[in-house]
Symmetry: C2
Subunit: 505 residues, 2 copies
């Protein structure tokens, strides 16, 4: 019996390793596509990626996989499994059920649909043409409704989609979370707007040499403990992180000559994602557990490093001098304190990805409410531009002049990623909640940042979060680290304290 169990485990992990290796190869091919692959090779590359994805898909949903899962799910076997095998079975079962329940033909149609829709969305956004995108989006929503029927749902239909990105998250929980955020953030934004003090940030838009921006970005990543022997920094149009395996986690940024902070903040943001993936425990290499436990928790790490560390007073007390040395002319009359306030200026904007820490969550709230209503049939795709603009007015006091800067701004829906947006706000909430804990557990937290000992923080996060990968589910990790369930109060406390000080409220 033990012999059989071991044989089954070995076979199972062999199969899983093959799936993982396909995904590793696909990750490199995609990274390469985004970092300078020649234009004329793109078409064939797409076919190569398609073939490898299909092979991985076949293995994930193979009878062999089904047989292993059935075996491991038997009560007397299941009770004998170690934690890693158990969690691996759990993750494989999720994938298996998810794809097995969708007829192959339907799945293929959906893959083609979303791939066409992504390309069409680009045109629609460029030309401010919602009508062009509308039929595709309607179709994508339809497919998602069918998936929900096939997969089943508990309570709200939208729960099934949320669960794809944040296991265990529900509409019930999110409604409560967003309600608390709204009730405290909307008044905060209003007060900030009315404040007589407004930071001066024009100096951030002078000319800043790109090579020097890169030098600073590399320096900060190194200070954070990003391992350049297990990664690299490149430039791309849109910054991203690619975790191929923990020994190869690559980040990208984008340099704008007239915007100093864009590259610095995106390097820290992607650096946060990368620290998570570089520091997963070696036990989990080659399994589906070798990944962040949820999109929300992943985003919490990018946000933690970008905002909580990277937009803090202590951080710039340490590193502003380095920036001044690189750009002595541009920053000669600016103090560290001026700089800190400038990079934390709050201004309601139309575009989510340009939003500050305070208004960002309002952008997410709009998307959450729209998705929930769409999936529950309360609004139709045709209503989106109108609903979008109404909600923008309500939460942010600004109405987009066109759909390009409104409902068409984000790529997510064209790829079918309904349920993803809340991850961003969950990330912000988790990061503030973790911040509250780490300040208690690491003595002199602010002093440590002021001394630039950022790797002490990285080590703490590794111990508490990173090393576990997907072995623990997000709710377990948050409970284990902070001693309570997700609690949006910490985020609002953090924002209120920080911005009351900056805006002298």
């Amino acid at each position: 019996m033990i012999g059989e169990l071991n044989d089954m485990k070995n076979g199972f992990f062999e199969l899983i390793k093959r799936i993982r290796y396909y995904n590793d190869a696909i990750a490199v091919l995609n990274w390469d596509l985004n970092t300078g692959a020649p234009r004329k090779g793109v078409f064939q590359r797409a076919e190569v990626i398609g073939m490898l994805s299909a092979e991985a898909f076949k293995l994930s949903t193979s009878d062999e996989m089904g047989d292993y899962l059935t075996y491991f799910d038997e009560t007397d076997v299941s009770s004998k499994l170690d934690a890693i095998t158990k969690a691996t079975v759990r993750e494989c079962r999720k994938e298996y059920d998810k794809y097995k329940k969708i007829p192959e033909k339907m799945y293929k149609e959906y893959v083609i649909l979303t791939s066409e829709a992504e390309s069409l969305w680009k045109d629609a956004k460029k030309d401010n043409d919602f009508e062009l995108f509308k039929p595709y989006l309607e179709s994508i929503v339809d497919y998602n409704l069918q998936f929900i029927e096939l997969w089943g749902y508990k309570g709200n239909k939208y729960n099934t989609l949320l669960d794809l990105y944040e296991p265990g998250m529900t509409v019930e929980k999110l409604d409560a979370i967003f309600s608390e955020l709204r009730s405290r953030i909307v008044p905060l934004v209003a007060k900030i707007k009315e404040s007589v003090y407004q930071p001066e940030d024009q100096f951030l838009n002078q000319y800043f040499d790109i090579k020097k921006q890169e030098e600073f970005g590399l320096y900060i990543l190194d200070r954070m403990g990003y391992d350049f022997d297990a990664g690299r920094l490149d430039e791309t149009e849109h910054p991203f992180t690619t975790g191929i395996n923990p020994g190869d986690v690559r980040v990208t940024t984008h340099y704008y000559p007239n915007d100093l902070m864009s590259s610095v903040m995106s390097s820290m943001h992607e650096g946060g994602h990368a620290l998570y993936e570089q520091n997963i425990s070696p036990d989990l290499y080659g399994t589906p557990l070798c990944d962040g436990t949820s999109m929300g928790l992943h985003e919490s790490q990018s946000r933690f490093w970008e905002n909580i560390i990277g937009r803090s007073r202590s951080f710039w007390q340490k590193y502003y001098g380095n920036l001044q040395t690189l750009f002595p002319e541009q920053l000669k009359d600016i103090s560290s304190e001026d700089f800190y306030k400038a990079i934390n200026k709050v201004e309601p904007s139309l575009i989510r990805i340009e939003a500050d820490e305070v208004t960002y969550n309002l952008h997410i709230m709009i998307r959450y409410e729209i998705e929930k209503a769409l999936i529950n049939g309360e609004i139709r795709v045709a209503d989106l531009p109108k609903v979008w603009n109404e909600k923008m007015k309500e939460y942010l006091g600004a109405v987009p002049p066109n759909n390009t800067k409104g409902v068409l701004q984000d790529v997510h829906w064209s790829g079918g990623s309904f349920g993803y947006f809340p991850s961003y706000t969950l990330g912000n909430i988790y990061s503030a909640q973790i911040y509250n804990t780490v300040r208690k557990e690491i003595n002199d937290f602010d002093e440590i940042i002021k001394r630039g000992e950022l790797t002490k923080i990285k080590d703490w996060l590794t111990e508490k979060i990173y090393k576990h990968g997907k072995l623990l589910e997000p709710a377990e990790i948050i409970m284990q680290v902070t001693g309570e369930e997700i609690n949006p109060g910490y985020l609002v406390d953090y924002l209120e304290n920080k911005y009351k000080d900056i805006y002298k409220l």
Copy 2:
């Protein structure tokens, strides 16, 4: 019958496309490994490449493949095949027979052996320790002898290995070729050595800014007609070309701040390889015919662009001014003619890859004679250092001070590539033979170079050679292009004429 034939063809080309796509992915993964993949991800990357290679191997030797080949080889079917299918069957048959005849266990052992030997060879070379490498090399030779028995051979055993890289090449032909080269090149080298005129080339070793070297390399590649929408130039330790598909053919170079010509010449060399692959006819995409027809013909193109164009007087009459503009201080007292002579300086050296046009083929001859003798049991691996040094003395008048600069200098044997070296000299011969033809067919050939109309030459080569890929075998192409079989006389004529002029012989 026609319906069946079409169905079989479709299925066959589907299978082939899958194999090709695996190889495309592997090519990108290898390129990435060599252009900056993080050190810590290398181990897992090797496993990923191993798995994908195994999948491609399985398909190439599958029963499915065997059944297709048997079907297409039937006389009444074979006679109905179009040229592309026929040549594709020919290439697949070669691969299939090659691998099917080797027991799987033996093949795996050999793959592991050569992979270990490559890494060991690096140490042996670094430490000047032939004894360390010897047992591995003995074993590799043994395996090759066994492969020859399994594959069969006609005439000399070494023919079977030659055929792997240059289909149709034999010891009989090569002996005659090398004998002619030796009888005319050895005296030429002696005369050059005795000449009172010796070009001054010290100025090439001043400091040359790397960014400017890159700028010049990119400019020349562009002038040659290298398509940057279907490729890119990167820096690596050892320059190479990766042809992923004709829409994605990447070249690399290496910049030395104290050696201007190294990067220029290697860019043109790799550029020549790349022009070949970028210009294969679209009909052949996705088949095994989408490649250079042999290593010799591939090498002829790198050599053509590097030496025949890139070391010609006409070329530098056109482009030397650009170089002077980039490096006005370093080149201020040097004329285009001085420069031309400097970059063509002939000096017997110990290292093959540093050799000039004239002595290069003597290096290859040494390797050819050693390989032939090893495979025919006339010498043993243990004799190699001694034999190497004797032949160096005989052909080049120089004895290496140690094995690092002698018998251990090249990577090829550690990977089992016996039979490969002659490709370099075949490439030189083909390039001179093609040069003799193109000068007759394109009016004012030298004037065209002087005007920088290099793409006219690229277009001619595309029409005559590149577009055919592997559809035609190397001997067919040479016959079709030049009207005769391979003829080493043109190479020696070219060298004699060129160097008599430079050295005023």
